[in-house]
Structure formats: structure tokens, C-alpha cells
């Protein structure tokens, strides 16, 4: 009996948590993809989506903590999470390298998210079976 071929995805999130539903829908999709035996090559945060990588969100305790949920999922499945550097620097999302380079008072990127260029998105698009985008709705 032939096994179901394992496919791979690149997911691009362009909507911010607590502003759009994009991170929530993307997580539901990612979990289902992994459960079905597929691979997620990379999650790429672009535009307002970079806010998902914030280490400083403190939503009310009865609301889902989307950055935390996403971080845990990425760590559990060893999936790279990458925030676009141009989007991130404009929007105030920086890791320690960027903090030093731009002499900023703090860093606020959550583990395991990294900061990198659009090349990571291009590479994902070439490599993965499908690239899906999760945009803000309205």
C-alpha cells in the first residue's frame, strides 16, 4: 500500500495578533498540517505580522496568548519562525543584534523567532509544495 506522500508548506503571516485573526487561523492550519504528517518548512512573518514575534504581549488571562502558543508550537516541532527584518525594524521588533546595531534600549523578540531578510521567503516559496498567506481580514 502506498503511503500518503508527505508535502511541505511555507506559511506567511501578514496580520498582527489582537488586531487580526491571521495568527490564529495560521496556527490551526499549521497544527493540522503537522498532524497529517506534512512538514512546515518555515513560518515567515511579514508586515504587521511581525508583532506575533513580540516577547512583551500580556493579553488578559481569559484570552488566548497567541505569541506564546505559536512559540510553543514552533519549538515543539523544530520549525523555523522568521520575522522579516525590514518589517520588524520599522515596527519596533528587535533582537539583541539589532538592538546593539541601532543602539536601542531593549530587545523584544520572543524565542524561537529569528530576524532575517525576504530571501527566506523566496527560498521557502521555491522549496515548499505550497506557500499560504494569512492576511488581516478587514
Amino acid at each position: 500500500m502506498a503511503e500518503t506522500a508527505s508535502e511541505s508548506f511555507t506559511l506567511v503571516i501578514t496580520g498582527a495578533p489582537y488586531s487580526s485573526q491571521a495568527p490564529q487561523t495560521a496556527l490551526g492550519f499549521a497544527q493540522a498540517a503537522v498532524n497529517a504528517g506534512h512538514r512546515i518548512d518555515r513560518v515567515f512573518l511579514y508586515g504587521d505580522g511581525v508583532h506575533l514575534a513580540s516577547a512583551l504581549c500580556a493579553p488578559p488571562s481569559d484570552e488566548t496568548h497567541w505569541p506564546e502558543e505559536w512559540s510553543r508550537f514552533l519549538v515543539d516541532h523544530s520549525i523555523p519562525g522568521v520575522a522579516c527584518i525590514a518589517s520588524a525594524l520599522r515596527r519596533g521588533l528587535v533582537n539583541e543584534t539589532e538592538q546593539k546595531r541601532y543602539e536601542l534600549p531593549a530587545a523584544n523578540v520572543r524565542v524561537p523567532f529569528e530576524i532575517a531578510g525576504l530571501g527566506e521567503w523566496v527560498e521557502g516559496q521555491i522549496k515548499s509544495t505550497r506557500t499560504l498567506y494569512f492576511h488581516a481580514g478587514d
Binding site: Q21, T25, F29, A36, R130, G137, D138
Partner: protein, 94 residues
């Protein structure tokens, strides 16, 4: 059931200009998957008739539209969304 050429994933409310463009640019052998605010198309009664239409269950339920789905609309969960996105030849996220 023939293969889906392009799967159009629409998360915009029917009054959003991008929703109108998505509906305009679909072919008969394409599929339409409504997610997020896109599921409100189930409420306006302006669903495309020539195309297969799917709607993401959690989004349908969240918006209280569970009993509006007609026979022309198939409810799918996230696993179904994954399957659809692989079955189709291409995916466009509107």
C-alpha cells in the same frame, strides 16, 4: 469530482473590494474556501453557483452561521483545509 485548478481562500467580508475581485476572477474549475470574515458570504445569499464552495467550520460556528450552509457549501475543518490546499494546483490567499 474533477480536480480543483485554483483554490481561492477568501477571508474578506463580502463588502470588502477584494472579495468582489476574488469572486470575479474565479473559473468554473476553481474552488472557493471561505475563512474568517469571508464566511459572511453564506449570510448574504450571493454565493457563486458555478464553483465548488467550502467554508471553514470554526469560523462558521464563531459567527453563528452553522445552520445557514446550503447544500452547495461543504464545511471543512483545518485538516480539510490542508487537504484542499494540496489537491488544488495552486492557491491564492485573498
Amino acid at each position: 469530482m474533477t480536480a480543483i485548478q485554483t483554490l481561492h481562500i477568501l477571508n474578506k467580508s463580502p463588502d470588502h473590494p477584494r472579495a468582489a475581485q476574488c469572486l470575479e476572477l474565479m473559473s468554473a474549475d476553481d474552488g472557493l474556501l471561505l475563512i474568517g470574515g469571508g464566511v459572511l458570504l453564506l449570510a448574504t445569499g450571493t454565493l457563486p453557483t458555478a464553483t465548488r464552495v467550502f467554508a471553514l467550520s470554526p469560523d462558521v460556528d464563531a459567527r453563528g452561521l452553522g445552520n445557514l450552509s446550503s447544500n452547495n457549501v461543504s464545511a471543512v475543518d483545518f485538516a480539510g483545509m490542508v487537504t484542499l490546499s494540496l489537491q488544488a494546483q495552486r492557491v491564492i490567499s485573498w
